[in-house]
Symmetry: C2
Subunit: 338 residues, 2 copies
């Protein structure tokens, strides 16, 4: 039985999250029972939703329990199997958590699925062809539902969700405008991800400046917006919405530390007859096959070339996660565990 | 040609609207041309949307032009006709404005329609069986779309929109909770309009108090909300929404004077996966026949018994309108012009 390093939530953040909220522990992996599979994780996914789980109190998901392995998506390889559908060497994606190995009960539907790495690199099943990609797809296709020629905007443009959003929106003939932090990210968004324009929120640091920049970047106004951030960025976008624009609300990373983050002018919802809709992609499993098929095709054809930030080793996960919350990552944030 | 008194917008409000923004003028009604009809107005409708039109600047509608007759819905009687479809004595509803008579070009579709007053009193075509009723119907049926047993809430509960909302929601088997100002209105909402509970915002004057009262009034949470008011009432309702609740945004009367009116916690849109949608009923003419048929049936059967506040004479219109904006009316606000 291999040794297994794990990271558990040791205590809850008071305001901003810190490395002191996490603790590294070491255990033995248990012997397998019938129907179980031992997976060695190659990559761990780090995602903003995890910050919400670290808080106690009401949210859409149960809080992460203290003393237990942090929740997280993983890809890896079957190294031992007592289930007939899985063989040693199979590549799998699942919710293995912040640890090197996981024991999966393969008889429970939906806990794990095999993936094909001939056209799509294994790590992309945690990003463009995984939960973040489907998140972008759902918000764009099911909530914004843009027509060709419409202008759609996304914040956190170079992240895993933003990258997929741009590719799916371009495939539908939209003008796509991103918002990201810093000249390198903005250049990458335009040169590599297919954004028509990308605005730097580190240059446009208030509502007035950003809304003016959006006016120039979106000469026909904004028809759809995918919200990952919240705060003044949402205020600025709302000022540029066209009548009947649709806002998909997926994340409000700016508010995860508990700071109040009001919406300045909700009357715009009425004035522009907006639809503002929150969603969690895990509640819409029925769209995953269609979404994954489109996203896989975009990656295989080279139309979606997502970038990855890879931290090395489980011990690096807390620091990399805190960096993600501050936008220090560039592309999908992963931790390489082998 | 009869003399015609009119009220025009003389100047725009600086902050709160005042009687000084209006001016009474007197003219002759012009001679009719072919296809035109002269209508004597019996009632003028006063509605909150008019306040928005008094401002200059971007809104969903053109600003009311200075020096022209204030826009407004009217019911009346044809007193002279040069159009074959209209006869002297016909009862009609239209947008005649704040004046005693209007000359209507009856060849233009949608400017005026004949109504039947055998089962529905003429004045109700400005309220329950008119634009306010259809507004309530659209928000409830097309945006909130409640299932039997769900809890739906409305602010300005005893107004023209709120009254119709209660009747249409009860017909669908919902629990209906109102919010209104003062014990008389709240008692009336429960005793006459069919609300299960009505909360007094003059007792619950902040978010904490109102959200606690809503918790008690809505033990199964809130599934749908129809927003007429905005401000802290919206904040309090959002705190009590269930997952997948729908918010129809029809008015934000609290913000019409230009005071900033932020939404305190938009993260609830994500946490509770809300749909928040603004609408203007005039953009959905396709639903009017179905809505008016249901509303007329509810009035004719006595299930919807709307109350009216009637000011006497055109000269009383500005004062009555300003009272409406402060919630001084009790039921649909009309001005009787004959």
């Amino acid at each position: 039985m291999p040794q297994n390093k794990q990271i558990v939530l040791d205590n809850r953040p008071q305001g901003e999250a810190t490395v002191g909220n996490f603790k590294l522990v070491q255990t033995d992996t248990p012997a397998l029972q019938d129907g179980q599979v031992l997976v060695q994780h190659h990559y761990l996914s780090l995602d903003p939703y995890m910050r919400g789980r670290m808080n106690d109190g009401k949210s859409y998901a149960q809080p992460q329990p203290l003393g237990q392995v942090m929740i997280g998506g993983t890809v890896g390889e079957v190294v031992e199997s007592r289930h007939p559908r899985y063989a040693v060497g199979d590549k799998v994606v699942g919710m293995g958590g912040w640890q090197q190995y996981s024991v999966v009960d393969a008889t429970t539907p939906g806990t794990m699925r095999k993936v094909d790495t001939t056209q799509v690199p294994l790590s992309h099943y945690l990003g463009a062809v995984g939960m973040p990609g489907v998140t972008a797809w759902y918000g764009l296709v099911k909530i914004i539902n843009p027509k060709a020629g419409e202008t759609v905007v996304v914040s956190a443009a170079t992240g895993a969700v933003g990258s997929a959003y741009a590719a799916v929106a371009k495939a539908r003939g939209c003008r796509v405008v991103g918002i990201a932090g810093g000249p390198d990210k903005c250049a990458y968004a335009v040169n590599e991800l297919g954004f028509d324009v990308c605005l730097d929120y580190k240059v446009h640091t208030d509502v007035k400046s950003l809304s003016q920049a959006l006016k120039e970047a979106c000469p026909d106004g904004i028809d759809g917006y995918f919200e990952n951030v919240g705060g003044y960025i949402l205020d600025a976008v709302l000022l540029r919405t066209n009548a009947f624009a649709r806002i998909a609300v997926c994340g409000m990373i700016a508010g995860y530390d508990g700071k109040p983050m009001p919406l300045s002018n909700p009357a715009l919802i009425l004035i522009n007859r907006l639809k503002v809709q929150g969603f969690i992609v895990g509640e819409h499993m029925e769209v995953w096959p269609e979404a994954l098929a489109e996203l896989g095709g975009l990656v295989a054809s080279g139309k979606l070339r997502p970038r990855e930030s890879v931290a090395q080793g489980l011990e690096a996960a807390p620091e990399a996660f805190l960096g993600l919350l501050k936008g220090k990552n560039f592309g999908k944030q992963l931790v390489k565990l082998i």
